[in-house]
């Protein structure tokens, strides 16, 4: 009898511990893989039209113009990397995004390199950089300089430092405020969403 109640109390304790552990783990996953808020019915989920093109590179004047790119409601996982040609750590991690584009070209994974280059340098620096490197990933430009109005819309976890990467699909999203050191690290970042 005594033994029985001892066993059952151990069972109870361990089950409780397990339930608590699982729920804590679940809640911490909720932190790292945030659930996306439900989309409004009127939110457009087609890829947004750019304000204009420089060569073949789409340029968006304001964050409002590009916001739909962060709200696509389809089967694709989007990896949106914020960078600039003058940002050394951004350039250092570009090859991993290119490798990712190549490796996942037959999957529903889309890499978007969103340049935050200064307006004056889009034509003088960015275009030649993209051509010289022969970038395969889609390059777009966002010119909106009223940063405080839109940084939080990408992610409240983003301080504004670049490089920064936002990964999402219709179910989940993750934000990374630091450079990736290799392809493996980048793959680990998107795996929970695939």
């Amino acid at each position: 009898m005594l033994r029985n109640s001892f066993t059952s109390s151990i069972r109870f304790a361990s089950l409780t511990l397990l339930v608590v552990a699982v729920s804590v783990v679940a809640s911490s996953f909720k932190n790292s893989v945030a659930e996306k808020p439900a989309l409004n019915a009127d939110v457009k989920t087609d890829w947004p039209k750019p304000s204009y093109y420089v060569k073949d590179i789409p340029v968006y004047n304001t964050f409002t113009d590009i916001e739909a790119a962060f709200q696509q409601n389809n089967d694709t996982t989007y990896i949106i990397n914020f960078w600039a040609t003058w940002c050394a750590p951004c350039i250092a991690e570009l090859p991993y995004f290119e490798e990712l584009t190549e490796k996942y070209k037959d999957s529903k994974v889309k890499v978007v390199l969103c340049s935050l280059d200064f307006p004056k340098q889009v034509e003088t620096k960015l275009v030649s950089f993209v051509e010289k490197k022969g970038l395969m990933s889609e390059v777009i430009v966002l010119l909106d300089g009223k940063y405080n109005d839109w940084i939080d819309k990408v992610s409240p976890d983003w301080s504004g430092a670049i490089p920064a990467t936002y990964v999402y699909n219709k179910e989940n999203s993750r934000f990374f405020g630091e450079a990736f050191e290799n392809l493996q690290e980048l793959e680990e970042a998107i795996k929970p969403l695939l």
Binding site: V25, F29, C87, K146, I151, D157, G160, I162, E178
Partner: protein
Amino acid sequence: MKYIFLIGLSLFLFSFTFQINLNNDPTEGVKVGEKAPEFNLKNIDGKTYSFENIKDANGNTPKGFIVVFTCNTCPYAQANEQRIIALHEEYAPKGYPVVAIQPNDAAQKPGDSFEAMQKNAKEKGFPYLYLIDEKQEVYPKYGATKTPEVFLVDKDLTVRYHGAIDDSARDESGVEEKYVEKAIAALESGDEVSPTITKAIGCGIKGSKAN
């Protein structure tokens, strides 16, 4: 045996949890309303400065400090240089000197070495302290992640504002709201600072690879 396994599994899951939370801790760094972390850093003139020995333009104990993490090399820091100079010239006589701190690892950014800081300050005529966070111990305490990034500290050494100088970091001609000036005005009049936190694009601070 099964229960031991379950307990083991629970503990394992717990340790996993802690790991995740540590990695994603959004609470790093000082918050508005908290005490500004102390520092004791070398200025480009070779002397070391802390909150205790920094004076305003009149040689008095300051009413506050405009602590700016900035550097030579970041285009955003460069785009804000003249604005930082203007802030100091306007507010150091009123009791709020600029205290610029360069946080980048010079091994990775030779353009941000102590000598390069001295040279840049001389060429541009920085009228404010330009300190180097050589051991890279100060910027993490503040939770600064990029240059430029401002912390407005009041006379009680409480952080009252954290963020950008104004709402147009890249292009001074587009400025509509001067956050730091507004915050100082609020301190002077005893009003609530608003906004207390703003964000802008900036260059990620280069931490030492050894850290």
